[in-house]
Symmetry: C2
């Protein structure tokens, strides 16, 4: 009679088959419904199974019993429903499909083609010599220790720890973060100013949403990290690009802009790698005070600094409560953890906590508690020291290979901090980069142009070289292969 779909409990399969027969008008409204005994025999299932299915069809109003005369397909099913024939999952009548109108925010998101620009995900098999940037070497991460600490928290979690928690984050982690940021970055805050978020992208989004109205001006360093611009533009911000000089954002050109917010990466500008000296930091703060502008300080990778200790955060120099400081555990733990933090001026703690409560009620608890343990028990500092040493060696290998194989043909920038450097190729036009990348890929070498980070593509050919993911010998070999292509004939 009917074909069962083989999914889940048998009586559910019978229920669905019967329902399909009703909805497709195979059994029109008012017709007699087969008896449970007949149906059981037909389908080769037990009568009890059929009765369970009948109960559900009755409860939902698909069938009805008339006293003394048996079971019938309900008559009050409207005609338009009986036209619904869905023989398979997901199949729809395409003529009837409703096209929803998006909000202004939804439209802006679409225009920005975020799907393309904001996918951090690695796709396909990475090449052997992959100079990808923006993530740590995940082999450095002490996964066993993390599993132990996380497992302990998960096993011992109390009912309250499994329940909803405070939207701003668990006290244990807020304290550990405040403590860590004070000793490592000179961030001056109490745990009450820390809000735990799902990585720095959420920090940006919460700030954009809570502080930016459509049409508001926002200064963004040029070039810059596109995730920041997109979150701000989606919120309706009018982006004013801020030029960089050798010391970072040049605020002299920005007098009178009247920006509501400026997005800055003083520790290690992305992608140029410039570190802002203290004098420039003070200039930026003074400019922000004159202009009535808030500063969003994105300190995404300054734990990795090679020539001196990390320069103290802008936040630590701020006297007037205008710096929103944000960082992430993606680079020091692993990106899939999705935990980061904001350190907020007192006046913004409540609005941003309310926003966090509204957007997702708060971050997962066990990971927060495990991360707090991981920091307090010293695993975090140990991992940081070890990976700093390893990354310093990788950086050294990269700089040496660039010197040896490319020499004067490459100008290296931004090597003091972070996990990538920027090189400008001398005597090599930017338009030749796509061909170079294709030929490099044939040699197993992946390099990444800096072009996407500029509003106006630079005439010079710039490449971002991430060095965290590769062993030193492969860094050397990769640059050697790249150099041969650069030495070759113009393509």
């Amino acid at each position: 009679m009917w074909t069962l779909d083989g999914q889940g409990p048998l009586y559910q399969q019978v229920y669905r088959a019967a329902r399909r027969a009703i909805l497709s008008a195979e059994l029109p409204p008012g017709t007699r419904f087969p008896s449970s005994r007949a149906l059981a025999a037909d389908l080769g299932v037990s009568r009890n199974t059929v009765i369970l299915a009948y109960d559900q069809l009755l409860a939902e109003g698909y069938i009805a019993t008339r006293e003394g005369s048996g079971t019938f397909v309900a008559t009050e099913l409207p005609e338009d429903l009986t036209e619904t024939i869905r023989t398979d999952r997901g199949e729809r009548d395409s003529d009837a499909i409703f096209t929803p109108r998006l909000s202004a925010y939804g439209e802006r998101l679409g225009d920005l083609d975020r799907g393309k620009e904001l996918t951090w995900e690695q796709r396909g098999t990475p090449p052997r010599f992959d100079f990808r940037y923006g993530r740590p070497n995940l082999l450095d991460f002490p996964q066993d220790t993390w599993c132990r600490v996380l497992g302990r928290r998960a096993r011992r979690a109390s009912a309250r720890q499994l329940d909803y928690g405070p939207p701003a984050g668990r006290e244990e982690l807020r304290s550990a973060v405040a403590e860590y940021l004070w000793r490592s970055r000179g961030v001056v805050c109490t745990p009450g100013q820390v809000v735990i978020v799902n990585g720095s992208q959420q920090a940006l989004d919460l700030a954009a949403r809570t502080l930016i109205d459509p049409g508001d001006r926002v200064v963004i360093e040029e070039p810059h990290y596109p995730g920041a611009r997109l979150a701000l533009e989606a919120a309706g911000a009018e982006v004013v690009p801020g030029a960089l000089d050798a010391d970072g954002l040049d605020v002299r050109a920005l007098a009178g802009v009247g920006a509501r917010l400026a997005y800055v990466t003083p520790a290690h500008q992305f992608p140029s790698g410039v570190s802002m000296p203290v004098q420039r930091r003070l200039d930026v703060l003074a400019w922000a005070e004159r202009e009535g502008t808030l500063l969003f300080e994105d300190d995404y990778d300054s734990e990795f600094r090679y020539s001196a200790r990390p320069v103290e955060a802008l936040q630590g120099l701020d006297r007037s409560g205008r710096v929103l400081y944000a960082g992430t555990f993606s680079k020091l733990m692993f990106p899939a953890l999705r935990l980061g933090y904001m350190v907020l001026p007192a006046a913004l703690v409540r609005p941003i906590t309310n926003a966090k409560a509204t957007v997702d009620t708060g971050c997962p608890a066990l990971e927060q508690l495990a991360l707090a343990d991981f920091i307090k028990e010293g695993h975090f500092d140990r991992h940081l020291r070890r990976s700093r040493t390893r990354n310093a060696k990788r950086r050294e290998a990269l700089l040496q290979a660039l010197h040896q194989y490319l020499g004067d043909r490459a100008e290296v920038s931004g090597s003091n901090a972070g996990l990538h450097v920027l090189i400008w190729l001398r005597g090599f036009a930017a338009r030749r980069l796509p061909a170079l990348r294709r030929r490099a890929a044939e040699q197993g070498v992946a390099v990444y142009p800096v072009t996407p980070y500029f509003r106006t593509p630079p005439a010079r050919a710039g490449l971002l070289l991430g060095f965290a993911a590769l062993p030193e010998s492969e860094i050397d070999e990769g640059i050697k292969r790249l150099s041969k292509l650069l030495a070759g004939p113009e393509t």
Copy 2:
């Protein structure tokens, strides 16, 4: 000379002490800086420690060396910086504090006083007989099994699994969710229509943001779950309350409203507990088609259904792609997991995935993968069956106690599904509820008024009684104690 703060590495302590002396003008610009030898002797630390601190002060521009004449406090430090005296963490000059202006969204959030209404967190010690609702009994959850599954994923996680992932969620979980929703709720979808989110609050927020512009009308059932209203009102929605009758949302009164979206809980209306029969579901869909309205179906706890199998989702009856279906794992796993899902009409998959990418790049990976395993290996279904049986017993105990101790004095509503019932007290005025709750609390009994879920507080006294958290004997004892208070003299 200077006091070290005792935090972190010694050279960092020296660095901070020196910096403080410079910033407080104890050492004014241009003055000679103490020699490393003198400072080491003064502070009782090694000279190497002091030299490390000096290197950092030099790198950051706080001090400068003049050839042949030693080290000096930098002269180019602006005067206003030297006025910055911060002797302690978090201390700020309150006169200079900047008061940031919030966006319209930020202002609306503040007006809604979300901080008060949206804290799900349990505070203080719960009373012995706590009829709290809106969460499962966390003692039912097979924590050991979950730890094993999660631990396995965490230990074996590949570098790619620790990296950024697809914003809409891991394929493994999207498939497991599509499969589960098809067999348990009649949700008709492909894994490509599933977007994994941080619980149903994020589902609501993403929908509000992507679909609602300030001033747009949104129908919300009255009474309703305030988290939904707040997310929608914060997005600027003009909320149109939709009255309920015995079958749920009464759409006859809503003709011509022109709402962009309607928020509905057909499976188990919150807080009334009404389940919408299939005929009303079809009426709601037909109304939405006539009006050009999208439907947000929040299926927050319909796994727990006692009289028949769960009625199939509105989504499964939708022919025109206008239902956004959302659910959460908070009630079946645990709230602190922060994972839920949306099932979207094809036209909304891309906009909402883009929004998810922009707001936080995606959910944590290991929990997603572990949850997919947990479902595929049958632990989820087993847990669901077991906790459904347990909750059925608790519900039975509650209904019996209500019958035995309160009899006609209470009218019970919404007991067919979910983890709570609503009772209306007969012959007991709503204004007497606060006194009743105080006296109940003295007896160790916590009960919760339904009043906060109504825009216009009802004249009748209604209580929400969650039954998941208590053993049957305590449910009985709690209701017995409550009944004595109700029988007592008017207070």
